[in-house]
């Protein structure tokens, strides 16, 4: 795991937590979205908080795709799950939600899980989905 790859995984973690928090702020500002009014769900993205959250989630998507290009899905997901710890901390210190002892225990579990997967190899599968190095134009006579 090089420094660049660690940085990409850190990006996935931070962008995801920040994006989700922005969405939560935005949706709390809006009136309750109803199933009977699907348009309200679509126009929710016009709220500045939600829009900001969407931008952050796009940054998340870019770093997530980069991570998936060099590591297994079953590696990337636990390795970036510290974002849930970040969400809990943002909830506690940003939104003044109360964090119960069960939630602190959950945070400890997630952290252990991250340590577990990070100690193993990042790619370990039978290479059925090998990168396609041969471009079509090179094959044609």
């Amino acid at each position: 795991m090089t420094f660049r790859k660690t940085l990409v995984l850190a990006g996935v973690t931070v962008f995801s937590a920040a994006g989700d928090s922005m969405l939560a702020v935005g949706m709390k500002h809006l009136a309750s979205v109803s199933l009977h009014d699907p348009a309200s769900l679509i126009f929710a993205v016009l709220n500045p908080w939600v829009a900001c959250g969407v931008l952050l989630l796009l940054a998340f998507l870019a770093s997530y795709m980069t991570a998936l290009s060099f590591a297994d899905l079953t590696y990337v997901l636990p390795a970036t799950s510290l974002s849930y710890v970040l969400v809990a901390l943002i909830g506690r210190f940003g939104f003044h939600e109360s964090v119960s002892s069960a939630r602190w225990l959950g945070i400890a579990f997630v952290t252990m899980g991250v340590g577990f997967v990070a100690g193993g190899p990042s790619v370990s599968h039978a290479r059925e989905t090998r990168p396609q190095d041969v471009r079509p134009q090179e094959v044609q006579p």
């Binding site: 989700d20 998507l61 998936l68 290009s69 297994d72 590696y75 959950g106 997630v110 370990s124 039978a126």
Partner: protein, 126 residues
């Protein structure tokens, strides 16, 4: 009624997010290491290669479904239930599905990691 909608959103998010994760992971494995590829063929070519994969576009569509289910869930329920519950279920679902469809070797270390994270995320709901 809101409680039912909350759990409906959680199930929808889990199914859509798992589908999206697998499709995206499959696409990016076919494309190859993005940083390495960029050095060889340039950024634009990498973007074109990613965007021209049908599985990538399907994956994004699945994420869009997951995103709107999340917005719906957040408007009905608590951030501190909807996000951890759907994420927890997604971790376990992904470990199973990655093994079947992506042929990843989910060894003991990864199972323990996935279950620890899923349990930890579930605990955060309380």
């Amino acid at each position: 009624m809101n409680h039912l909608y909350e759990w409906l959103a959680i199930v929808l998010i889990t199914v859509a997010a798992t589908t999206g994760d697998v499709l995206l992971s499959y696409s990016m494995k076919r494309v190859g290491d993005v940083a390495e590829l960029r050095r060889r063929v340039g950024t634009l070519s990498v973007i074109v290669r990613v965007l021209s994969r049908p599985t990538f576009l399907l994956g994004i569509a699945a994420f869009a479904v997951a995103f709107y289910s999340l917005l719906f869930g957040l408007s009905k329920g608590d951030l501190s239930l909807v996000v951890p519950a759907s994420a927890s279920l997604t971790f376990v679902a992904n470990a199973v599905v990655a093994r079947i469809f992506l042929h990843e070797r989910v060894g003991r270390r990864r199972w323990i990691a996935a279950l620890l994270v899923a349990a930890g995320v579930a605990l955060m709901a309380f």
